[in-house]
Symmetry: C2
Subunit: 420 residues, 2 copies
């Protein structure tokens, strides 16, 4: 732990950026069994699994509206206010992402455009576990509310009042008491109480992840593939080691397998940050989690910013904090990351809760190909085209030639008959 990797050669960047490997296949038979039971026995299977896996007795799958209201009201007033502040920022930023219709006349008389329509039914999973992630409800239900998803089904075994408060605030239409892989199976297959959905969002443990992959295999969309959370920080000599240490620890406290990386052009900053981590660790309630994930941590010293940029573009961090003097310029050079936090007063925690950006982001290098959750995740973009008789007359010849070259005569006919 806390070993510093000094001036790594470019040829080692790939290895340096390797994540601990993920195992998913081993759970196939358990996940198959859960899907098959939920398919056969519906709600009863959910009730039985809840007893078997969580030792919770439930008789109803869904909360009634009055139960939700009562639980929501138990939320601390100060916390209610904080959630409202976060709500407003997340709403504003995601609302700005609404598609503006643009009609493009690609050729005379040929007009093409896109329209965006909501996914009618979505499922959101919020784990129980050690942290009641009501913030994730905001991140997933606010964009659904903006685009107007008709049904937003939230499954959570959690009982923290703020979960209910957030769900109500964001217009969740149904809240279910179930958790784990069985909750995902219910959202995928549907039961008497849980409607089947077209897309499933939300974090979870390895069973939940495997169950989401199975749903995906069945043709149900998912937010993105999952992996352990991670942060990378670039700090130059302008950085404050107290802040950098706090940012690294706020990622490390997430779970045993979180990964934190610090890259710096200044060895002193690295050394001071390590000292600060040790100090701050002492009073952390989740010290044990943080210690375990610090085992995966990396502290990298480089000669120049350019090297840091290359490593970071190879790594494709979920969260990237730029604790440096020229964060805008540095960010311009970053091609692969989930979310970027610029400057000394933009901690990851701000984006986790309240700046307005989404905190459901690609981990495990998936930022090379995947975006984080954003407004697009809740809609489909349908293309439309309208061609006039004259427009088709003009464009038709090209279509006929191409269709015939692809040996698709009926395609050619569809144009020819209209041109005659």
């Amino acid at each position: 732990m806390f070993e510093i990797i000094k001036f790594p050669a470019a040829s080692t960047y790939s290895d340096l950026c390797e994540r601990p490997s993920l195992e998913s296949r081993s759970m196939d038979s358990l996940i198959d069994a859960i899907y098959s039971q939920v398919k056969q026995h519906g709600d009863q299977a959910l009730i039985d699994y809840t007893k078997q896996f969580e030792n919770r007795d439930i008789t109803e799958i869904t909360y009634s509206d009055s139960e939700i209201s009562e639980l929501a009201l138990q939320t601390d007033t100060e916390l209610q206010e904080a959630i409202r502040v976060a709500y407003a920022n997340i709403y504003a930023f995601h609302k700005s992402q609404v598609l503006v219709e643009k009609r493009i006349e690609t050729s005379p008389g040929v007009v093409c455009w896109q329209k965006s329509t909501p996914i009618d039914k979505i499922g959101i999973y919020i784990p129980g576990g050690t942290a009641p992630l009501f913030s994730t409800i905001l991140m997933l239900a606010i964009p659904a509310q903006i685009v107007g998803c008709k049904e937003v089904i939230l499954c959570t075994p959690g009982m923290h009042p703020a979960l209910f408060f957030a769900a109500q605030l964001c217009g969740v239409t149904k809240m279910c008491k179930i958790g784990g892989a069985q909750a995902i199976a219910a959202l995928a297959l549907g039961t008497a109480s849980v409607p089947p959905v077209y897309k499933i969002f939300g974090p979870g443990n390895q069973y939940v992840t495997a169950a989401k992959m199975e749903a995906n295999r069945m043709g149900i969309a998912i937010d993105m593939p999952a992996g352990p959370s991670e942060v990378a920080i670039f700090a130059d000599s302008s950085a404050n080691p107290v802040y950098v240490a706090a940012d690294l620890l706020s990622q490390a406290e997430h779970g045993n397998d979180s990964q934190v990386i610090l890259i710096s052009t200044d060895e002193e900053i690295i050394l001071q940050t390590i000292t600060e981590i040790k100090n701050q660790l002492e009073t952390l309630p989740r010290k044990d989690y943080a210690l375990k994930s610090l085992d995966y941590s990396k502290f990298i010293l480089v000669n120049q910013e350019k090297e840091a940029i290359d490593i970071l573009n190879t790594y494709a961090a979920e969260h990237l904090i730029l604790a440096c003097e020229n964060p805008e310029q540095f960010a311009d050079a970053i091609q692969h990351a989930g979310s970027i936090f610029l400057g000394h007063y933009t901690p990851e925690a701000a984006g986790d809760y309240a700046s307005g950006t989404n905190h459901t982001l690609p981990t495990n290098g998936f930022a090379h190909a995947y975006s984080g959750v954003n407004l697009d995740s809740f809609v489909k973009k349908i293309t439309l085209q309208s061609i006039t008789k004259e427009g088709l007359k003009k464009l038709g010849k090209s279509i006929v030639i191409m269709a015939e070259a692809e040996s698709l005569q009926a395609h050619a006919n569809a144009v020819k008959f209209r041109m005659d």
Copy 2:
């Protein structure tokens, strides 16, 4: 065949819209074997499979630049010109989808925005088979060219000159002679000749589809889940049965399992269309394909447009043609579809080749959750945020309260330390 379903009750819409079921699991062991061979033996496995599955002898995996140029030059001049026309339209429409940066100040001193960056390495698969789909190269390589994907690897067993012409025109960076599931495995795993990619696009048979699902399971993104191609047409009494029949046939000729649906408020139009289909079928080179897929066809008579809209929103067609008097108004009511063709002079064939919209679209009802391929498919949207010291001071309290309520003290500290 050609049976008319008259005035179906709303309760039957779901069954009416059911697709023939897809089987994917059964190929698991073959796909596993192919992945494992390609992983172990790399290029040699590709050479061996090409002999075994396709009876083609290849010694090199990739085409040299001069081979590509020579083959491209063999493209008919008229066809070259047609491809250039299509290229310009597809380029114009996709270019219009480039993200315009918008900085949003969600709270005083808290600014959030998105930037779009290309996926560095993508793979495109174009099947050999009965139709040389050079048009699909345009659809997948033009947006990659617009956003600036660094490596665009095209795998195809096809040899039609237009494939090479289109690849060259669209800036494909490498062209490989391989096909089938082994080509997908090569793109996913990488070999000496084929670089591994972050996302795989393109159509294919059931083996290719299964291999893409396996890549997806490994964390490699894919364009979308696959299914048989399909068209739905709404025709009112203003429709021309000759055009409607030609449009239905241009879908039916794609393959044995294509699905075509005609919904009309006018029985006469349905009857005349059926007559026309029989006429036009006679001279079609791909009559056998069309006949088989007409087995899955449905002709539905409804009383009112409203019913047609409900059926079409349940069906979520890949292609939807609105052969009616008020197509704009009708399109406004459509919430789920891949691409919509408005009016009597907008055949599906136009969008398949040259109107400018993308023809890689969600089949099998996937349009309930998935968009067709568009410019977004080739980029990631990274979120960025920049907070001033004052901004954090103002927002900080809410973050601290939420973090502490989620029992994440280090998150709270990251803000507190900065506020002190």
